[in-house]
């Protein structure tokens, strides 16, 4: 039973990591039906920014939560600026084009950002300091669930609730829903669609940056390539949960995380990915729109 619990918690942490990144994918897809492949790179840039700021602050003699908060804020601002710019450069000019064009543009952006960071920084792995504080009440359970695991899980839950509230109850949220339903109609009734889309990218990128800081603290190392694998897994999670749905992204992340961890724990880690993708295929056969996705009529 203990072993089951350990594996369950491992899966919860891993699933929350996927979910945190998957939220950004799903938001952008929900609004403009674009799979933003550069999202994983925004996550990576967030982690790099936090590392640079944290190193600077540590040399200046700061320590503890202040470093985490300052580095986190700068990372969020910086990554949001990147998200905003990527949208303006790579997606906005293609808004009227067929759906494939922005997809290719997104893949191009992803490759560009990876190589940009590799050239501007380094291709080596860099150690990432554990910025997260040790929570005293978790000391006794550190062998199954450490502070970083707990903080990642809690953050994912908070972010999911906050996003749902934002979309349900604020003016911006209403505008987002309107844009998602019918962009032209929303424009006709006076919604500033460009601003809504920019806001979506900024929020998505901010989430990616928060994810970047937390996950890098958990793993303890970063390089320019981390966004790719995390991005692919998070994208899988978003599709699994029903792309476009916010609770769906979190659920998809958790289901994926648990599947992988239980496959490792009870079968063999050799088949971790095989189980994860077999599940994806199975769910997409039974529910083509994902677990919580709504089957939509193709707008022509």
């Amino acid at each position: 039973m203990d072993y089951f619990l350990e594996i369950f918690l491992s899966g919860l942490t891993r699933g929350s990591i996927y979910a945190l990144i998957a939220l950004g994918y799903t938001m952008v897809y929900g609004i403009i039906e674009l799979i933003n492949f550069a999202h994983g790179e925004i996550y990576m840039i967030g982690a790099f920014t936090a590392l640079i700021i944290a190193s600077v602050l540590t040399t200046l003699g700061m320590s503890g939560p202040a470093v985490l908060i300052l580095a986190g804020i700068v990372a969020v601002i910086y990554a949001s600026a990147y998200g905003f710019t990527v949208e303006k450069i790579a997606y906005k000019p293609l808004r009227g084009a067929s759906r494939l064009s922005p997809l290719i543009s997104a893949i191009g952006m992803s490759i560009f950002l990876q190589n940009y960071v590799m050239l501007a920084q380094t291709s080596d792995f860099l150690p990432f300091p554990n910025l997260l504080p040790e929570l005293p009440f978790l000391e006794s359970t550190a062998h199954i669930m450490g502070s970083t695991d707990f903080i990642i899980i809690a953050t994912t839950a908070v972010v999911m609730v906050a996003l749902t509230l934002l979309i349900k109850f604020t003016r911006m949220g209403k505008a987002m829903r309107a844009t998602a339903q019918d962009r032209n109609m929303a424009m006709l009734v006076g919604v500033n669609v460009n601003r809504v889309i920019s806001a979506t990218f900024i929020i998505g990128s901010a989430l990616a940056a928060i994810g970047g800081v937390l996950i890098a603290s958990h793993i303890g190392r970063i390089n320019f390539y981390i966004g790719f694998i995390a991005g692919i897994k998070a994208f899988t999670a978003a599709v699994l949960g029903g792309i476009g749905s916010i609770p769906g992204a979190v659920l998809g992340g958790l289901v994926l995380g648990w599947t992988e961890c239980f496959a490792t724990g009870y079968v063999s880690s050799d088949y971790e990915d095989a189980f994860a993708f077999a599940l994806l295929v199975l769910i997409l056969i039974l529910r083509p729109a994902g677990i919580l996705g709504k089957a939509s009529v193709q707008k022509v």
């Binding site: 072993y3 350990e6 594996i7 491992s10 899966g11 942490t13 891993r14 990591i17 996927y18 590799m118 291709s123 080596d124 792995f125 860099l126 150690p127 550190a142 062998h143 199954i144 450490g146 695991d149 996950i215 958990h218 793993i219 303890g220 190392r221 390089n223 320019f224 390539y225 694998i229 995390a230 897994k233 992988e260 961890c261 490792t264 724990g265 063999s268 880690s269 050799d270 971790e272 990915d273």
Partner: protein
């Protein structure tokens, strides 16, 4: 629009001739001896590949300053394979079409294996400073292949002997990263442990490289009751696994290979790296040629050399020495000279056996002590 097939055929032919003309022009223009340098020069394993390029540059600079080989200057053709087999075949084709006499590389075993067939058909000698997959030499399929590093089974043998005779552990978990290099090593380790009868393999699995965390594998190792883990793979995953084991207060001994005996591992895993064992090439710090080569690197590039630098340096020297001894750049003569003539290198005096393994090159066991790898055996 419907295309006129005759016009497009003509266009195709004209373009075809055009490209042929260009490549023909290139092939005849050169008087230099061309040596390819192939390996991971970008991507996440670039830290293994770049030092070889620098080693090659240093050797060639020195040789060219002396007037070259057989009165000809040596030219390097540096090609990136990102450590990926599918890219390596393109790299090999490109080097073959540029008429390289020999190739220093590739770096990763998987990429090397993929490229070797192409070099074999093109009759090009290949010397790898780092591809340690046993099959590359032991299968006998690649008479054009040589290496200045011992093969994986030598490392696995040392790891297992060390675990059984020095650490005296009874339960061992064997892990690998599913790659040609890591899995090959793990299979040998498992075989050697089982043959010895002194200990049992309680856990044998492959992990997914690049995953966001390895806590479930770590839990499973803990449950298996292993006293030591033998890991076949590279440092990014090793640092994650070691960190997560130590964070969960597991004291399991961690033994790995020269994919982990890299300073990046210590830098990334930090204090968690303490006590980790890794096999790596024999200590050469007292060899005057090695000291000179490292000094030259410091002077030219302003930093200490990285992984496999000396192996690459020795490989490059062996190639050029063989060409000089053979007085020819013909494949048969060069390959013969590599097998018959000793050459003084930073790794010691080496020549190659019939299978292509270097005689006089081997491994030692290292341990991380106070943030540096120290030779323990």
């Amino acid at each position: 629009m419907k295309r006129n097939p005759i016009i497009s055929m003509t266009l195709f032919w004209v373009l075809g001739l055009f490209f042929t003309a260009i490549s023909y022009g290139n092939a005849t223009a050169a008087e230099t001896i061309k040596i390819g340098v192939a390996g991971a020069h970008s991507g996440d394993l670039a830290s293994y590949g770049i030092p070889s390029v620098k080693a090659a540059e240093l050797v060639v600079k020195e040789v060219n300053a002396r007037g070259g080989i057989l009165g000809r200057q040596v030219e390097l053709l540096v090609e990136d394979d990102v450590c990926k087999p599918e890219v390596a075949t393109n790299t090999a084709t490109k080097l073959a079409s540029q008429k390289a006499t020999a190739v220093l590389g590739h770096i990763c075993s998987g990429a090397t294996k993929a490229a070797l067939g192409i070099y074999k058909d093109a009759k090009i000698v290949v010397i790898s400073p780092s591809a340690t997959n046993p099959e590359l030499t032991q299968s006998g399929r690649y008479p054009n292949f040589f290496r200045t590093i011992a093969s994986d089974d030598a490392q696995a043998r040392l790891e297992v002997d060390f675990a059984l005779d020095v650490l005296k552990v009874k339960k061992i978990a064997v892990l690998h990263d599913k790659g040609d290099y890591g899995k090959g090593l793990a299979e040998y380790a498992k075989k050697f442990i089982e043959e010895s009868g002194k200990a049992s393999v309680v856990f044998y699995e492959g992990i997914t490289p690049g995953a966001v965390d390895y806590s479930s594998v770590v839990q499973k190792i803990k449950r298996s009751g292993a006293e030591a883990v033998i890991y076949g793979g590279y440092h990014p995953e090793a640092s994650s696994i070691v960190s997560q084991m130590r964070r969960r207060a597991m004291k399991t001994t961690f033994i790995s290979d020269d994919g982990v005996k890299d300073d990046t591992f210590i830098k990334v895993a930090g204090t968690y790296a303490e006590g980790v064992y890794a096999t790596g090439p024999k200590d050469t710090t007292k060899n005057p040629l090695a000291i000179a080569a490292i000094e030259a690197h410091r002077k030219t590039y302003g930093s200490d050399p990285g992984a496999f630098f000396l192996n690459a340096y020795a490989g490059m020297q062996a190639i050029l020495n063989a060409i000089e001894k053979a007085r020819s750049t013909k494949y048969k003569a060069v390959a013969g000279a590599l097998r018959s003539h000793y050459v003084d290198t930073p790794l010691g005096k080496i020549k190659f056996d019939n299978r292509g393994d270097a005689i006089g090159v081997g491994f030692s066991m290292y341990q991380v002590r106070k943030g540096v790898y120290v030779q323990v055996r």
